[in-house]
């Protein structure tokens, strides 16, 4: 292991600050992650040395920018084990990637009466695009049930996926429950029925080694900003044979082969999907983030986070009146812990924790149907990343206890 886990936070200047006079403990990583110096410096370096528009230029800067821009595509392909960098499409983020699958693949191949299957734990970004597509096409949107501990109910998956199913789309890991879904198994069911398998990798890619070929899936989308990369850059991966059949959605710029007055031909995938000037500095930053993550090792990140959770979770469960959503076995979950304190609204909890320097999130986490399914209005959510420590977990527990104290007794 090239890097010592307990020193990682030194690479993140933002973590070296006080918030409300308390040392910041950032536990809102499921919303977005912090950036190591290496990523910010890669962006600065790009703007101070190489900035130019890519592809179209003959001059030296344009050539440098293009080479770096395309090198990251190769790096991403390797990072998720795609069979070729031509399967790697730059997007704004997971949301855009999932929407593009719906708008391009979905609008092209869906027929009235066809079925789309998702689950009750989906983020709105992996729900509303399908809802909208289903409505437009006269298709049916179906939901896979969850088990009482928040895991995907495989019996329900077998029931919901039928020969009418054309698209199955699931989160790889839930942004509320922390549950990791058995994607490879569901993919087999989907393929048995001739459906394609789409995976929302927003909450898995930052925390584990992704191998899209081993999963056997057809599409995979994730966001850079959730894995230490800049905002405004994400990846849509798709199998070449599917991408080749899909129409582009944003027209103009480098996606074009030849434009005549009334007719246009497009480049091949992935370029045909990349209309207009891309977020070039974002791409460079994504490359630096992947380098940083790989210098630690995705397997090491996964196992470090499991240890962290194995440490924090039992202590949280010990707090009286706490309810924790999602599986309790660290082997079956990521470092996202959603919880509620009896008689306290999560918004009040988050404000109180913020006063202690502990940044967590409260709300529906863009998963309103899941909130309804869990029968809660909202939850508090602490989410860990590899730069968090056992001490951060301890601080969270202490702050939760102090919050309870404050609201129960009206005193600090």
């Amino acid at each position: 292991m090239a890097k010592k886990m307990n020193n990682l936070s030194e690479d993140f200047p933002i973590l070296q600050q006080k918030v409300n006079d308390e040392q910041l403990v950032y536990l809102d990583n499921a919303a977005t992650t912090q950036k190591p110096r290496a990523v910010v410096e890669a962006i600065t370096n790009y703007y101070y040395h190489d900035n130019a528009n890519v592809h179209r230029g003959v001059h030296t800067l344009a050539e440098r920018a293009t080479a770096q821009f395309e090198a990251v595509r190769k790096k991403v392909a390797h990072f998720i084990n795609a069979s070729s960098e031509e399967e790697i499409i730059y997007t704004k983020g997971t949301t855009e990637g999932l929407n593009w699958i719906a708008a391009s693949y979905g609008e092209t191949f869906l027929k009235p009466g066809d079925e789309i299957v998702i689950s009750y734990m989906e983020h709105h970004s992996n729900l509303v695009p399908w809802q909208n597509l289903a409505k437009k096409k006269g298709a049916v949107l179906k939901y896979i049930d969850l088990l009482p501990d928040g895991q995907l109910d495989m019996d329900s998956a077998y029931k919901q996926i039928t020969d009418k199913t054309v698209i199955v789309s699931l989160a790889h890991a839930s942004n509320v429950l922390g549950a990791v879904n058995p994607i490879a198994e569901v993919t087999k069911i989907a393929h048995l029925h001739g459906a394609i398998m789409v995976v929302d990798g927003a909450q898995s890619t930052p925390h584990m080694k992704i191998d899209v070929q081993a999963l056997g899936i057809d599409f995979f989308a994730f966001s850079g900003h959730k894995l230490m990369a800049p905002t405004g850059i994400g990846i849509l991966w798709g199998k070449s044979e599917l991408l080749d059949k899909m129409p582009p959605l944003e027209f103009g710029g480098e996606m074009i082969d030849w434009v005549q007055l009334q007719k246009t031909t497009y480049k091949k995938a992935p370029w045909k999907f990349e209309g207009g000037t891309q977020n070039i500095a974002g791409v460079i930053g994504l490359g630096a983030a992947i380098d940083y993550l790989e210098s630690i090792g995705m397997e090491n990140i996964a196992s470090y986070e499991k240890t962290l959770i194995a440490n924090v979770l039992p202590e949280m469960l010990n707090i009286q009146g706490i309810e924790i959503y999602g599986p309790l076995d660290p082997e079956k979950r990521t470092g996202i812990i959603s919880f509620n304190l009896k008689g306290l609204h999560p918004h009040d909890v988050a404000t109180a924790l913020d006063m202690e320097g502990v940044a967590i999130r409260a709300g529906h986490h863009c998963a309103q149907p899941l909130m309804e399914y869990l029968n809660v209005a909202a939850t508090a959510r602490a989410s860990f990343y590899v730069y968090n420590t056992v001490a951060d977990g301890k601080k969270l527990i202490e702050a939760i206890k102090a919050t309870k104290e404050f609201f129960n007794n009206g005193i600090v």
């Binding site: 918004h347 109180a352 709300g363 529906h364 209005a377 919050t403």
Partner: protein, 156 residues
């Protein structure tokens, strides 16, 4: 310790209103009603109003929410009874300015006990919680709906 600052937000009176809200429930004979959602957290508040001789004669709210939104709703209901729509409008404007830290005049005179929510100004993320009920009654009266409609909370 950090939590001590919470006293600025969660004053005793606020905690009491939140745990025993006034005018919580529903009205059978409402002239106006409106459902409003806090986009940040998804909390929903329904406000119902009865008007008599050009004044608010009764009001009720329902729906769940955080301490701030519940307390604010409860205080709002206390303060608007007996007021004309124009007075309610002035109250809503004043309240909104108070919690966003804008200077405004005669706050105590206009808002009464609800002035105690001024501490929210130091907690920008909670402004929407505090204003939810006030925006709801404003829109309810303005729209003049007898049927329940869903209002819009401005995003910012």
């Amino acid at each position: 310790m950090g939590l001590s600052r919470l006293d600025n937000l969660y004053r005793q009176m606020i905690l009491e209103h939140a745990s025993h809200p006034h005018h919580h429930g529903t009205l059978e004979n409402a002239d106006h009603q409106l459902e409003l959602r806090n986009p940040t957290c998804g909390d929903v508040l329904t406000v119902q109003v009865v008007m008599q001789a050009g004044k608010v004669s009764d009001v009720a709210f329902s729906g769940s929410g955080c301490t701030i939104s519940q307390a604010s709703a409860s205080m709002m209901t206390d303060e608007v009874i007996g007021k004309t729509p124009i007075q309610v409008e002035q109250m809503v404007m004043t309240f909104s300015k108070m919690v966003t830290g804008e200077s405004t005049k005669n706050v105590e005179e206009i808002l009464g006990d609800a002035t105690i929510l001024e501490g929210v100004a130091q907690f920008p993320a909670r402004i929407k919680c505090a204003t939810l009920a006030w925006k709801a009654i404003y829109q309810a009266i303005e729209n003049g709906n007898k049927e329940s409609t869903i209002g819009f909370m401005r995003h910012d």
